[in-house]
């Protein structure tokens, strides 16, 4: 079996995998980081979004071997100790989640949006979320949370 080394949230993790092991399986089953969720397994819902070398991607649609040597950031890598990332804080403040299943992917997607576009308008936020499906909130408070985070980060 091949061995891969993937740096997850700053820590190099070396494991044996099968060639067909998905990145999300590597994260959840090999490393035990279960914050990254599998909602659909058909590349549509975005619950599995993580960052690969800085950009967002669906970890259910990538092989662990494809990212051998890369840096991966998951929802667990966002907070600084007990201090939530401003996006996590904004989701909490604005009630941007209900059951929380979509939330890890939503937050990772939103963090990357603000890297590409520091001050997105409502339309830009909504179209960005086309790859992240939420069955609870109706999106309204998620959009509010992302806008609030953009404001907060602009002031910081």
């Amino acid at each position: 079996m091949p061995t891969v080394t993937i740096t997850v949230n700053g820590k190099p993790e070396t494991r044996e995998v099968e060639n067909r092991t998905l990145l999300v399986q590597f994260l959840r089953e090999s490393i035990g980081l279960t914050g990254t969720h599998v909602g659909c397994d058909t590349s549509q819902c975005g619950a599995c979004v993580v960052h690969i070398d800085g950009y967002s991607a669906k970890s259910c649609t990538m092989l662990a071997t494809q990212v051998n040597g890369s840096n991966v950031k998951t929802i667990e890598g966002l907070a600084d100790g007990d201090k939530l990332h401003p996006m996590q804080e904004a989701f909490r403040e604005n009630h941007g989640l209900q059951c929380g299943f979509c939330t890890p992917g939503m937050v990772m997607s939103a963090v990357y949006l603000l890297e590409v576009n520091k001050k997105p308008n409502e339309q830009e936020i909504r179209s960005w979320l086309e790859g992240n499906i939420c069955r609870c909130t109706g999106y309204h408070n998620i959009v509010k949370a992302i806008a609030a985070c953009a404001d907060a980060m602009a002031k910081a």
Partner: protein, 266 residues
Amino acid sequence: MYNFEYHQAKSVAEASELSLKTEEGKLMAGGMTLIPTLKQRLAKPSDIIDLGKIAELKGIKKEGNTIVIGAMTRHFDVAYSDIVKSAIPALAHLAGHIGDPHVRNRGTMGGSIANSDPAADYPAGVVALNATLTTNKRTIKADDFFKGLFETALEPGEILTQVAFNIPDKAWYMKFPNPASRYAVVGAFVAKFGSEVRVAITGAGSYVFRQKAFEAALTKSFTPEAIKDIVQPQDALNSDIHASAEYRAHLVNVMARRAVAHANTL
């Protein structure tokens, strides 16, 4: 997913050789189509040959009257490229509306073109902009490249390396997206080069096609009114749970008119 052997190719030559010498080798670009297919066990390749680390396949440059894009260039890079945005804004718009941001961060131009999915966006840009496709063996004109449903002129071991898109005077792409996947239910790419007009339709048929009646009318007058009464025949169009052939035929005309109207504002 069935298991397979995995190879990270270092060059186009190595990838081509591996795909020929393995029993049922399959090239992988971004994997945004291939991995979902494998997960559904719709394919059982013996070997996966990953093109992801071949640097020579990535990049965007302006060469004479064309924009040349490497096969492994991601949709994200095309959408945000200043070169593409200023020379062919319609192409940046097309790439920026494929799927969602995470799909665009992995999916590549080459993978989209080589797959000839009936609902893919890129084939419309390739045909309307009369692009020249380069492989490790030869160059192929856009009109000779797409052969059918998931079928292209590519032969075993042949790898698409880059595509040169002609810079038009005016162009736009308009699609009616499937609300869940964003794939094109119907997409129309309209491009004007001097007195020549090319119109490519995706999503509607089994693969991309030119709408020559629209082209003739738009050559005389590049306005939405010029094609308003030209009826798209329904016989060869797709009919499925997303849209009937009748509805798609209607959309072909509407999307083409909207593309012309927008191209005229640029």
